[in-house]
């Protein structure tokens, strides 16, 4: 029964891959949709059947000496849920891109890239061995590069794509460390083999942390995430909701049984997550680019997920947040895409305002998405965020880190309210005669579908994704309401932020605001100052002293000169005089014979 189930799921994906090659882009979108429905049905069957929750499908791929490389899929609850969420969200994004990219001459190729992106992500999620994970991981990286630099004529887009691939490459080193370590010590790349380890290796876990930090844009490797906004909006939507950025968190979830056995690594991941969520939330407060705000909110939520994986030790909650986040974040990006498209590619929130009357449906969806992001009770975000805050509160954890998480949560509300106020509410500041129009089926349809799911998904998913090791606890009222309370406080903070940011006088004179607006000066320092120092050192010492100096003197020019001298000696001996030759030969022979006699 279960095997049949897994084969059906894989078959639906295979059909999707076949439709990827079709020339009609809408047929591919349909295939994604039906694959999503199929997997939803199969998920419900899996949940209803009381058999084991795990299924492995394995085929032997190649046999290398004693080691056999398997194609193996791991169908557990995570994989199945993610299949449904990923396929559903991607279908909507594909439909949205028919609207958003309709004037693009290469829209067919664009849809194929999106499809490949999704397939790589599904491969990553369902992988049972590290090697298959690597294939999906690299596929996601390459497709993100191609998609971010979709408008390749823009130098900003190219720079952003290069940033994405470079920072991801740094993270990939971590994955390679994992592969190397497990190949050398275990000779096995399967997760089951790794879970069965009775000791925890710090080196391996550092690789896990590095890989996850690179892919999920944790603090230190985060600048590519906001920069990736240079791609088309459907790309941002897919990249930030269900693919790519959650891959790192997913890796942490996969390895959480091992991480939770290692106190130091657990603490390190916890701090990384809390710092990321706070830093990104702070940066999101002062951004004026609409997509940048949403991007930083993604980074902040990723930090929250990482926090809850390691700090509270509840990977189920992190995964629940991934699923919920996928719905409303995709919708938020689509709404901002709709606004941007309607306003003739205007992304600056200071030139928006009053859009609730120009685009009411998009505005409503934007409001629902923001509310879900803030964790307004009984929307999707509430069901994952509230348990996260609670579980962090009741655990015996670092008090400052807990405080940081609470502050970041309140900031979530702050930047969301600010963004809502400036784009949707208030008076209109946009240029006159904007062709704002939402009479497009491919805009309204995906938005509505995702809005419904943002409302009800939490109620559905909480039934089977609640953390199983935490029993129901009695909480004080203050803690029970902590999440809602900090969100309310955040809403109030937003008012102050709005007042502070949008006064008449120039805001650059306030250093704290410059810190926020310049995203902590991190990209400037990392991309301008450090390369400058390195380049100067390389130019002065490596190039001038070594490359053009002493090595040049010693090797290319010196060798040539020395060989010329020696060759001249050899050739000058060729005097063409037989007397000389015979004399030299006799002398040589005499010398050799003399040495022989003496010895």
């Amino acid at each position: 029964m279960l095997e049949l189930w897994g084969v059906l799921s894989l078959t639906s994906l295979g059909v999707m891959v076949i439709f990827l090659f079709s020339k009609i882009k809408s047929s591919f979108a349909e295939s994604v949709k039906y694959a999503g429905y199929m997997n939803a049905v199969l998920l419900s069957i899996l949940l209803m059947s009381d058999e084991s929750e795990m299924l492995f499908l394995k085929w032997e791929w190649v046999k290398l000496g004693g080691y056999s490389l398997m194609i193996s899929f791991r169908f557990d609850l995570y994989t199945c849920c993610f299949f449904v969420v990923g396929l559903y969200v991607t279908w909507n994004i594909l439909m949205f891109s028919f609207y958003y990219m309709s004037t693009d001459p290469r829209i067919d190729l664009f849809c194929k890239y999106l499809g490949l992106f999704l397939i790589a992500m599904l491969l990553l999620v369902s992988a049972e061995s590290l090697f298959q994970l690597l294939i999906g991981w690299e596929g996601v990286g390459i497709m993100s590069y191609l998609l971010i630099s979709w408008w390749y004529a823009r130098s900003d887009a190219n720079t952003a794509a290069l940033q994405a691939i470079f920072y991801n490459r740094v993270g990939d080193i971590g994955l390679l460390i994992m592969l190397m370590w497990s190949l050398v010590t275990l000779g096995d790349w399967s997760f089951t083999g790794l879970y069965a380890l009775d000791f925890v290796n710090t080196f391996f876990l550092l690789g896990v942390v590095l890989a996850a930090a690179g892919k999920s844009a944790q603090l230190g490797l985060h600048p590519w995430l906001p920069a990736a906004m240079e791609g088309p909006t459907p790309v941002s939507s897919l990249l930030h909701s269900s693919t790519m950025v959650v891959a790192g968190v997913f890796l942490l979830i996969r390895f959480s049984p091992i991480i939770l056995n290692h106190k130091e690594i657990q603490l390190m991941v916890f701090f990384l997550g809390t710092m990321t969520t706070l830093f990104s939330a702070i940066c999101a407060l002062a951004q004026n680019d609409m997509k940048k705000v949403v991007a930083f909110s993604t980074a902040s939520q990723l930090g929250l997920m990482v926090t809850v994986v390691a700090g509270a030790g509840a990977p189920q909650l992190a995964f629940l947040h991934i699923c919920m986040h996928a719905f409303f974040k995709a919708m938020l990006f689509m709404c901002s895409g709709g606004f941007i498209h309607g306003l003739q590619n205007e992304q600056d929130v200071r030139k928006m305002g009053g859009l609730h009357s120009a685009a009411p449906i998009t505005s409503v969806c934007f409001f629902i998405g923001s509310a879900a992001l803030m964790g307004v009770p009984f929307l999707a975000g509430f069901f994952s965020k509230d348990p996260i805050i609670e579980i962090i509160n009741i655990n015996n954890l670092n008090s400052w880190a807990v405080g940081l998480v609470l502050i970041a949560t309140s900031f979530t509300a702050a930047y969301s309210v600010r963004l809502l106020y400036f784009s949707v509410g208030g008076v209109s500041r946009m240029l006159v005669l904007q062709p704002m129009n939402e009479e497009y089926g491919n805009l309204i349809g995906p938005l509505q579908r995702l809005a419904y799911s943002s409302v009800i998904a939490g109620v559905v998913f909480i039934y089977f994704l609640s953390p199983n090791q935490i029993s129901c606890l009695s909480l004080p009222l203050s803690l029970k309401l902590a999440a809602v309370f900090v969100t309310l406080v955040g809403g109030l903070i937003a008012w102050d932020v709005v007042n502070l940011l949008h006064r008449e006088e120039s805001v650059t004179n306030i250093p704290e605001l410059a810190f926020e607006a310049q995203v902590g000066f991190y990209p400037l320092i990392m991309h301008k100052l450090i390369p400058k120092v390195w380049l100067n050192m390389g130019e002065m010492y490596q190039m001038q002293v070594m490359d053009r100096g002493w090595t040049e003197l010693a090797l290319p020019q010196g060798l040539g000169g020395n060989y010329k001298i020696m060759a001249d000696n050899v050739v000058n001996a060729q005097t063409s005089l037989i007397k000389m030759y015979i004399a030299v030969m006799v002398m040589m022979g005499g010398l050799i014979l003399g040495i022989m006699i003496c010895l």
Binding site: S576, V584, L593
Partner: protein, 346 residues
């Protein structure tokens, strides 16, 4: 000279080699060497040009001197212990003198001066015979002489030959001199190979012959005495010119070609016998010589010489294209040939 008499000389040269390799006594070796030299000299002056005559006289003087030293060495050894077999003459002066004479006849490094001048004076065909076939008698003696006692001396000669062959060709623009220096360099490898194992020397010599005879004959056909004349070769006879370039790369020992695998075979055996310093010196010499091989190949393959506007590559005048492509394939397929040779006992 009448062409009908040339088979006599050729048969005499072959007989001389057989005489040497079938005898164990130095007198017959001397006889064989002298017979070979005397039979070769009329071939050298085939066309009676002044350059040829000069080269022949130089060749004759040096060979005669070497033969005298050979005979003297034999007499010395005979006076020493009154024993006739070469294998018993170990470490005495006579043995050494015989070896020096043979080395002079071969043209190894400190005694190499005559080779360059003689080859420069000759045509390509007699030059090819001089640099290939005429080495066989000397090598036949040398393989029997290469005993433990004087093998270190032979190693020294081999190393110096490789270096001198590399350095001497650096500034050369005359093709024949260049080939002479290349021959000296290869002779260095060859002699070290003879010391490491006579079959190694034999296989390297075969390889050198197979590589160099096509080169000599192509150069003869292209009639290129100077490097500059090679530049027009690609236009007038492209196939041969390309083969010439590939052949020189192969002679220089670049990896996909035949010449590399010969050197590889030798090097594996040298390293296996812990001749590490010798290997390093040999490779250094080859590296230096690679410069002029590359220059020749560059001129043959890459550069298109000055030409009139309407004349393109002259593909119609290709001669012997079957033979040429066969040689080209031979150069490329060195891997298989040496694969068999590497099964030789170490």
């Amino acid at each position: 000279m009448s062409p009908y008499i040339s088979p006599l000389f050729s048969i005499t040269m072959i007989m001389s080699v057989m005489l040497i390799s079938s005898s164990g006594h130095w007198v017959f070796m001397w006889l064989g060497l002298e017979l070979g030299t005397l039979a070769f000299i009329p071939i050298l002056v085939w066309w009676h040009s002044s350059l040829e005559v000069e080269a022949t006289v130089k060749y004759f003087i040096v060979q005669a001197m070497a033969a005298a030293v050979f005979f003297l060495g034999g007499m010395v050894s005979l006076s020493g212990d009154f024993m006739g077999g070469v294998n018993q003459l170990m470490g005495n002066i006579g043995d050494m003198m015989i070896m020096l004479a043979v080395v002079t006849k071969l043209g190894l490094a400190p005694f190499h001066y005559w080779v360059v001048d003689v080859v420069q004076g000759l045509n390509y065909i007699p030059g090819a015979v001089l640099l290939t076939w005429q080495k066989v008698p000397g090598l036949a003696v040398l393989t029997q002489l290469a005993t433990c006692n004087n093998s270190s001396m032979l190693l020294l000669f081999g190393m110096v030959s490789a270096l001198v062959g590399g350095l001497g060709g650096l500034g050369q623009t005359q093709m024949r001199k260049l080939l002479a220096f290349s021959s000296i360099s290869h002779l260095g490898w060859l002699v070290v190979g003879c010391v490491a194992g006579s079959l190694l020397g034999l296989s390297y010599f075969t390889l050198y012959v197979v590589l160099s005879i096509p080169l000599f004959s192509i150069l003869h056909m292209l009639n290129g005495g100077h490097l500059n004349q090679l530049r027009t070769g690609l236009m007038f006879n492209p196939l041969m010119s390309v083969l010439l370039g590939v052949g020189f790369l192969s002679l220089g020992g670049l990896p996909p070609f035949f010449g590399f695998f010969g050197k590889w075979l030798l090097l594996t055996h040298f390293v296996g016998q812990l001749l590490l310093g010798v290997s390093v010196v040999l490779i250094t010499g080859t590296l230096i010589s690679l410069f002029y091989y590359l220059r020749v190949s560059y001129l043959c393959i890459v550069v298109l010489g000055p030409q009139q506007i309407m004349s393109g590559l002259n593909w119609r005048k290709m001669q012997l294209s079957g033979l040429m492509s066969g040689l080209l394939v031979l150069n490329m397929l060195g891997l298989f040939l040496v694969g068999g040779a590497s099964c030789l006992p170490k």
